[in-house]
């Protein structure tokens, strides 16, 4: 993305002049304190939000081009874990994961089977038929992750996917993300949790007040904390 600005209608400037490139196959942390613009950045990448200014190219497609309309085709190559899960409360765990496949042209049986596999992988196989509301926040988060991964996307945009997980499941989930990354999946991972960044030696894009911070321009405790991962 090149010189991207995002100003919300309320005149809150969430991103200003962000320029960055994430290569295919890379695992990237986007880190910064609450309100720094991580979600906004990911929402722009997933075409959920249009930048106020600037150009964005995702997977070779210029999504800021006025003629760009095939959002759904691009989204099928993406797995999105949103900060607020966006699970369907009146469906079971398996149905939630299978839903992603069913509405993108897979048969019901196929969808159910693949969803089962993915849930096994993420450690929720036993809870497969439970209604979503019977799950803890951490379990719901893992369902959201399973749904993002079930259609084997080439890019995963995960917004604080470990925000509600305990230390052990966080590591499990990180393990899954790492595996996927080894298999070639590009991963953009937003977090404010510095422990993770210290632990996993992936590329870090620190964000502060809507700007990519190089640690020199602004020198606050928060940045030092973020930079601690490097």
């Amino acid at each position: 993305m090149v010189h991207v600005f995002k100003t919300y209608p309320s005149q809150i400037s969430a991103l200003s002049d962000i320029t960055l490139e994430i290569s295919s196959g890379e695992f990237t942390f986007v880190a910064g304190p609450s309100g720094s613009g991580k979600s906004t950045l990911l929402r722009i990448l997933s075409c959920a939000e249009k930048p106020t200014r600037g150009e964005v190219v995702v997977d070779g497609v210029q999504i800021t081009h006025p003629d760009f309309t095939k959002i759904h085709q691009l989204r099928r190559r993406m797995g999105i874990v949103s900060q607020d899960f966006k699970l369907l409360r009146d469906r079971t765990v398996n149905e939630n994961v299978a839903f992603a496949l069913e509405v993108t042209g897979h048969t019901r049986r196929e969808a159910k089977g693949k969803a089962s596999d993915m849930l096994r992988r993420i450690g929720l196989k036993e809870r497969e038929d439970a209604p979503i509301l019977a799950l803890s926040a951490g379990e719901q988060q893992r369902v959201a992750i399973a749904r993002a991964m079930v259609n084997s996307p080439s890019l995963i945009l995960a917004d604080e996917p470990t925000g509600n997980l305990d230390a052990k499941t966080t590591l499990d989930v990180m393990g899954i993300f790492s595996d996927l990354n080894h298999q070639g999946t590009t991963i953009v991972f937003a977090t404010q949790f510095t422990g993770l960044i210290k632990r996993f030696p992936y590329r870090l894009i620190p964000i502060l007040n809507g700007q990519v911070s190089d640690g020199k321009k602004v020198d606050t405790d928060e940045v030092r904390e973020v930079k601690a991962g490097e």
Binding site: I71, R76, M78, I80, L88, V103, G105
Partner: protein, 299 residues
Amino acid sequence: MTFFLQYVMRRAFQNMMGNLFPNLITIGIIAVSILIFSTFTLLAFNLTNFLKIWEDKIEVIAYLKRGTPSSEVEPLLDRTRLLEGVEIVRYVSPYDAMNFMETKLGGQKNLLQGIQPALLPPSFEIQLKKDYRNPAKIDEVVGHLRETAQFEEIQYGQEWVDAFSALVHTLRLTQWILGGLLLIAIVFITSNTLQLTISSRREEIEVMHWVGAGPGFIRVPFYVEGLIQGLLGGGLAILFLYLLHQGLLLHIPPSMQAWLAKVPILFLPPETIAWILLGGTVLGFFGSFVASTRVLRYK
């Protein structure tokens, strides 16, 4: 393709079941609207049919002046036959007229005692060619007949036919005006129910957007829902109309039955039924289309 159909039907069915009450109300209102429209259609259809039968039977009777010498009858007959639009001309002599009246009066034929056949005027019964059995053409033929001096009076049921066809005209007009209003009503109501369905599926639609479901996968189930509402509403309306029609036939007083034997009360012909069902379906579809352009924006 079959998979997509299965998917669409399943989703449409789920949506309808999830919003059963509004759906039933909608189908009910569509059914009532279409029932009103098709009742008028049926009425107009039967009256038109009646009018046709009636017009088919129309005859012009030209009474000759009393005492027209029989030597003049033959050439006059020939001349009348040659008139444009005339198919058959039958000469009814005073004796024939007498006989006819006698059979008509049956047991009361003594009423005719003392009446001399010669008192009755001889007449020509003129049957017109099929194309001439309508108001404008009849007037044309009658005009020609009036030019013949030997005809004293010319009778035909034209006034009645005119009045009746004016009635049918009004009915048809009412049918279409009403149809127009109901059409708007149906689109309005299906679009409203569909907006309800769509907003109750807001979360699902959002997830569908997230996971990259194509517009077809998101929209077509709603279109199908509107379509089904229209079709079911139309079907119910036709069913009710049929029951009504049957019930009416059963309750016709015997005194009218003999008369009606000549003029059957028909039900709508299959192609009209098909048109009405198709109309309902298209309107339902259109309603859901309106709803989805109003509330389903692709994000």
